[in-house]
């Protein structure tokens, strides 16, 4: 998939993560600002990279502002941001989104 538009998902509430996802010329750039940076910063970075690569996304810019979200939340917020930024919302079959 290709990231076309900038999109956001999530909130700045505690236990949530806000994702701002946009196009990038080359590669994946991730900027994480987390309340649990020291304990989980690397883990969150790896998780976001994995989610992007699972969706075959090779170029993207991600700003993640995290207030202690669990992995399931990060996954959900990332997927939402991805579907919002590929510019073909209508074509996503939400019934089969994993």
């Amino acid at each position: 998939m290709e990231i076309i538009n900038q999109s956001t998902s999530g909130t700045l509430e505690s236990s949530d993560i806000q994702i701002i996802l946009g196009p990038n010329k080359q590669g994946i750039d991730i900027d994480i600002r987390s309340s649990v940076q020291k304990q989980f910063g690397e883990h969150i970075d790896m998780l976001i990279r994995k989610i992007l690569s699972d969706k075959m996304i090779e170029n993207a810019k991600v700003l993640a502002v995290d207030n202690g979200a669990l992995d399931c939340t990060i996954q959900a917020r990332m997927e939402t941001a991805i579907y919002r930024s590929i510019g073909e919302n209508q074509r996503v079959d939400w019934g089969v989104v994993e």
């Binding site: 505690s14 236990s15 309340s35 649990v36 020291k38 304990q39 989980f40 910063g41 690397e42 883990h43 207030n67 202690g68 979200a69 669990l70 992995d71």
Partner: protein
Amino acid sequence: MINRVKREIPEEVRGNNKVFTGVHTDCKVVQRTAPKVRPIKLDEEKWVASIEEVIDKLNLSDGMTISFHHHFREGDYIINLVMEAIAKKGIKNLTIAPSSLTNVHAPLVHHIKTGVITNMTTSGLRGELGEAISNGIMKEPVRLRSHGGRARAIESGDIKIDVAFLGVPSTDLYGNANGVKGKTICGSLGYAQMDAKYADQVVLLTDTILPYPNTPISIAQTDVDYIVELDKIGDSDGIGIGATRFTTNPKELQIAELVKEVITKSVYFKNGFSFQTGTGGAALAVTRFLAEEMKSNNIKASFALGGITKPMLTMLEENLVDTILDVQDFDKEAAISLGKQERQIEISASYYADPHNKGAAVNQLDVVILSALEVDKDFNVNVMTGSDGVLRGAIGGHCDAANAKMTIISAPLVRGRIPTIVDRVNTVITPGESVDVIVTEIGIAINPKRRDLIASLSDQGIPIYTIDALQEKAYGITGKPKPIEYEDKVVALVEYRDGTLIDKVLQVKQ
């Protein structure tokens, strides 16, 4: 040297201190220290016009130890006012020995940077100050002590106070002071009573001067050198900040419900039992739930201890508690009540929790409910450093009260993404051997050495797990946190209540 809770205390910072060997003090005879006293002249007055003037009269000089109390908690003005005046005089290398420090004391960071303060002992460190110290701003490690441990250290001379600057809500012009009358009341002056008795020179700072003799006499004229009148010594509303939240959080209510179950189904829940509850949402809810159970079972408590809050006063008024022993008030209502209720008794820090006197109130406790930032698989509790290793808490009376017959630690399994039940706590404040039951929202864990509790609480409808199982459940939700990276520098040493070293706090890596 490795101590009994498996913590290494480096030789170069150990000094003359022994390391922690267990909760039972060896009970050998101790020699107390005594203050120097300058007798007052027959016609001498104690009133001094300003802090600046009193600093000159005191001959305050480089290298001295000065002390303060924290009965105003987040509403304290005294420490910042006095330190600013001292700094302007150019005095350096002071040791400060307050009973505790809170978020409002961030200006101390500046006085550390400029060399006014070079040593410190306290119960709590929070906010900017805690962060600065965790980042290695001080050359000498801070000495962290519990309230009982501080009382012991003052009596033994481990803390030798040259000058105590004590904010008092009211005093007469000869130095009879209390915390229940005046413009800015704080209630009990239990911690300050230690300073008044043992400091060489005692300065009272007040915003209310009352006619002689001002009673009740919490601090006596016989111990007071000077009196300074200020516009305002603090903010009474700041006493309750952070301590007395009325919770509607379902997780906290569930924990409180389980704590209530543990207490009421234990052998200790009978007429004449005694208890201490801490602060924070769950602890306050426990007090309310417990009151309901006591009413319906017709059970009364002999005494309640500790930091006093409004729900405890309600129990006193409803005759569910016979006496409150009050070393500190955690809200304005409790402070006001101390002046009115004859069954609410002011006690000193030594009476409350000192391990080296002839009997502290904590020794008489049946049940105590305490909170935790972290608990580990050895039941050790951390209330001092956050999950990022930064100083952001206070020992308070935690390890003092934890020697109750049943010590309950209430804590959520996880906070956001941070597990509370961990492999190994960042900092040991209260040793696991004095902890009996951990209560989380999903169930409890009982210290395996308490077979009696395991037997009496089993098959009572309370979900019981091993501590290892609770820890696995916590990590199952959050994932395993990466260990914190530290520098080699020791930024704080943690004393157990008897003065032995139980742990150290290292500088955090940036």
